[in-house]
Amino acid sequence: MYDFTYHRPASLAEALNLLAEAEDPKIVAGGMTLLPTMKQRLAQPSDLIDLGGLGDMRGVNRDGDAFVVGAMTRHVEVAANPELLAQLPALAELAEMIGDPQVRNRGTMGGSVANADPAADYPAAVVGLNATVTTNQRSIAADDFFVDLFETALEEDEIITSIRFPIVPRAAYMKFPNPASRYAMVGVMVADTAGGIRVAVTGAGPSVFRVAEMEAALGEDFSPEAVAGIRIPDDGLNEDIHASAEYRAHLVTVMAKRAVLAVQARAAG
């Protein structure tokens, strides 16, 4: 790892100042992606700004018809939150599927969402549940947030402070994990939101995306059969040693079916 200057600001304002002044800074939240990247010398920030000291950016709070999750809330805290488990279990279950226990003990929601790894799980929750990403400057709708591979709507001087998830009556996330890393080869969130059914897919393309055809079909008939015959095109999907684009397209249908089944199983108790 190349050397850098380490900062641990005590407030968001201090973090923003450091971000503005440093030559080539990186923000570290849980560090579960950034530190391995730096170890491989794929990133060489001049300054590392550790948000670990910002305790007020941590925690899950109910706010009206939504849950507001602080950006520094760790996956383990989302997965084990009793209120989420009772009222928005799809989000807690998704968090429990991330990585391994040690990653969940350090990794944060804000870090994962800001990094926008194509195979990360949280983007499917943010888009599928129609969440709103709040930064030090503004609120960004989920559909506008994720732009492309590791690219989001965030400006260079912007830090995610929290993410607001509306409570939905039914939702479930299913993924086909890479057997080694547990990253999603394909993960699908199916949710019945105020604005209609949403189907959000992570892992399959350069960035999370919705499947309008599946959303329309599930709006008509919320059953696994409704999506079983819908096959998304392979064009532009990710291809690597783990899976071809064709296989990922196939998995999108399978995971969507499983997510619908999981919703039905939850409703049946």
Partner: protein, 158 residues
């Protein structure tokens, strides 16, 4: 660029000047000579480097020493009391829970974090929990058996 870090490791206050980029695992092994914590993959996947920081298991190869400033750190060296093995270590011994032994410190520290919240884990729960710990000898059967037995030992001795 160096920084002074202080933390409590296995009940002892320690303090040292380290580089900003020093990983916790390197600090433990090279500065404190606590070489029970191993470096296996260096890509955050194998779990040989698992230690507890403030009571929770983390991969010490994916944490900077400076990020553990002020923390309580527990490594495998902190488990036994004198010559008496920790009940979890004893279970690994009794159940042939190790072959080459390289992954064992991480397995032990990971297992203890599981048992903290789940004193009587099932076979399936142990296997799911060990997602982040690899054994290249593929000795998982006896590792799982050891952890279940170790959890039982700990319930008895509590």
């Amino acid at each position: 660029m160096t920084v002074t870090v202080s933390m409590n490791v296995n009940g002892k206050e320690v303090r040292a000047d380290v580089e900003n980029r020093t990983l916790l695992v390197h600090y433990l092994r090279e500065h404190l000579r606590l070489t029970g914590t191993h470096i296996g993959c260096d890509t955050s996947q194998c779990g040989a480097c698992v230690v507890h920081v403030n009571g929770e298991s983390v991969k010490s190869c994916t944490l900077l020493a400076v990020q553990a400033e002020g923390a309580e750190v527990l490594t495998v060296e902190g488990l036994a009391e004198g010559d008496t093995l920790h009940p979890m270590q004893e279970a690994f011994r009794q159940n042939h829970g190790l072959q080459c032994g390289f992954c064992t410190p991480g397995m032990l520290m990971s297992a203890l974090d599981l048992v903290k919240n789940n004193p009587a884990p099932t076979d399936r729960e142990v296997r799911e929990w060990l997602e982040g710990n690899l054994c290249r000898c593929t000795g998982y059967q006896n590792i799982v058996k050891s952890i279940i037995a170790g959890a039982a030992n700990m319930r008895e001795t509590r």
